[in-house]
Amino acid sequence: MFKSSRNRIIDKSFQVIGLATTIFGLLILATFIFYIFYVGATRIDWAFMTNLPSRFYAKAGILTAWTGTIWIFVLTAFSAIPIGISTGIYLEEYAKKTRLANILEINISNLAGVPSIIYGLLGLEIFGRFLGLGRSVLAGSFTLALLILPIIIVATKESLRAVPQSLKDAAYGLGATKWQTIWTQVLPVSFSGIMTGIVLALSRVVGETAPLIVIGALAYVPFVAKTPMDDFTVLPMQIFNWISRPQHGFIVNAAAAIIILLIIVIILNGFAVFIRNRASRKNNW
């Protein structure tokens, strides 16, 4: 009798502790976001968005940073998406259970666990030195493309796997070739799942800093990149640079730039959730 009442007390206390921990986690998240907005929100204005970097914090802006982020975003997307989807299709639809497929699978899950800074070292040597791209937008995009490739491949594979066999049977039964079946039936159906993965991967690209530092991207670039061969900076690099400075004015600048960065990341993540939810409501087989 005594024991069981003690058990109940333990049970109830854990319920309280569990709830408290969970709320605490969410509270930290809220505090972070609130604090950033508290420090930086008033700093954001038209001049901040359109000014070039400067030694004076009141004059400094993020024009080069956000345009650089868009450059990197677009070029990374263009190089990673086709390769990622193709590889996913190959593994899921063509090379199932072969030895090669097995090696590829193990290799990809290992790549997914390689720290991002190592990709920086790879990009520095291969794209920067060997291919002579230096610290250009192109070198940065290729490096980040390799970094997010495993995410896109895994997302593609999982969405393809969810396509019911009956759908493929129907296409094959009408005389469609393998590629026709994949292109006209399988891909359209798994499109939203693949898109979700791609958007999440790209949201990572927006916040990635370490590999770009390693390939030599600069924090101070006094012009907007015009071609893929130009030097560039991105939002997180700019933030990193400002955080490292002693004057409080630059910390405010950093907070303001973080707000912009967070807005992009949250929009991308929200978009991913939106695609996923809409798809799960539509697919009703």
């Binding site: 058990n7 854990f14 969970t22 999440l200 530092i213 967070l262």
Partner: protein, 294 residues
């Protein structure tokens, strides 16, 4: 008819080609790390690298002992794990057995935002918020330290442990759950005496994955933990991790081909070996779990 068959073949080959890029990436990583490290070890003996207590490649008095960087890495990672494992597991068990399904479906994705926030933002927090708070309570804490970086890193990896562990707890067959409740066990007893042990390998896999992630984390430690290689377990003084060192060298203007340039590849190789081993242990343990139940 014939051309269609050729078209199919070409497509398959093209797809295979893109798949091979992932193999090339791995080979590229290994080749880059090994070839530059090889050049490095021609100058510095492996013995010195592994045993010298000091790491000062950028000073005039040069020492190349990776231990102090490894020590800094282990220190920040250890603190992060001390934060993330208890809270992550508590959240996982709570969401799995105690909370309503509705709450779980809302809270889990919200917590996952923690992992989606760029680490540069966490670095900002560690330096601008957490360190001053720590200094308020313990005035001896220096401006750069392992503690604030570790705590913030711990917060960042909570969702790795909470979400992945919740998934495996959820995958434990209901029959086990019912058997325990059927004997009059409380939720707490069922969770910690039946479910957690049953899901232990999956939970361990998620923890190892989180450790691997913490070891490779760069921006938080580069911003908040300092740039002073230090063979110490004191969390209140500046230290330097492997990743932070690579950033430090990359930001400076070390000439390509110099020995200082090569140190980042030797450091990178050390980092790669650590994470590679951890990731593979994690896969292996996870596979065991899947064989058991799924």
């Amino acid at each position: 008819m014939f051309t269609r068959k050729i078209k199919e073949l070409i497509i398959e080959r093209a797809l295979l080609l893109s798949a091979l890029i992932t193999i090339l990436t791995t080979l590229g990583i290994i080749w880059v790390l090994l070839s530059e490290s090889f050049a490095f070890f021609k100058v510095v003996s492996l013995w010195d690298f592994l045993t010298d207590p000091e790491w000062t490649p950028l000073f005039t008095q040069k020492h190349y002992g990776i231990l102090s960087l490894v020590c800094g890495t282990i220190l920040t990672t250890g603190i992060a794990i001390l934060v993330a494992v208890p809270s992550g597991l508590t959240i996982a068990v709570y969401l799995n057995e105690y909370s309503t399904k509705r709450m779980r479906n809302i809270v889990k994705p919200l917590l996952e935002i923690l992992a989606a926030i760029p680490s540069i933002v966490y670095g900002f927090f560690a330096l601008i918020v957490i360190t001053p708070v720590l200094q308020y309570f313990f005035p001896s804490v220096s401006g750069f330290n392992a503690l604030s970086a570790g705590i913030v890193m711990g917060i960042m990896i909570i969702p790795f442990i909470s979400s992945l562990s919740e998934d495996v707890l959820n995958a434990v067959p209901n029959s086990l759950r019912e058997a325990s409740y059927g004997m009059g066990a409380t939720k707490f007893q069922t969770s910690f005496k039946v479910l957690v042990p049953a899901a232990s390998s999956g939970i361990i896999a998620s923890i190892i994955l989180a450790i691997s992630r913490a070891i490779g984390e760069t921006m938080i430690v580069a911003i908040a933990a300092g740039q002073q290689p230090n063979l110490t377990l004191n969390p209140t003084v500046p230290i330097e991790t492997i990743t932070a060192y690579i950033v430090q060298v990359s930001l400076g203007d070390v000439p390509q081909g110099s020995i200082a340039y090569k140190t980042i590849f030797a450091a990178g190789l050390t980092l790669f070996v650590f994470t590679f081993i951890l990731n593979n242990i994690s896969f292996w343990v996870n596979k065991k779990f899947k064989q058991q139940y799924v």
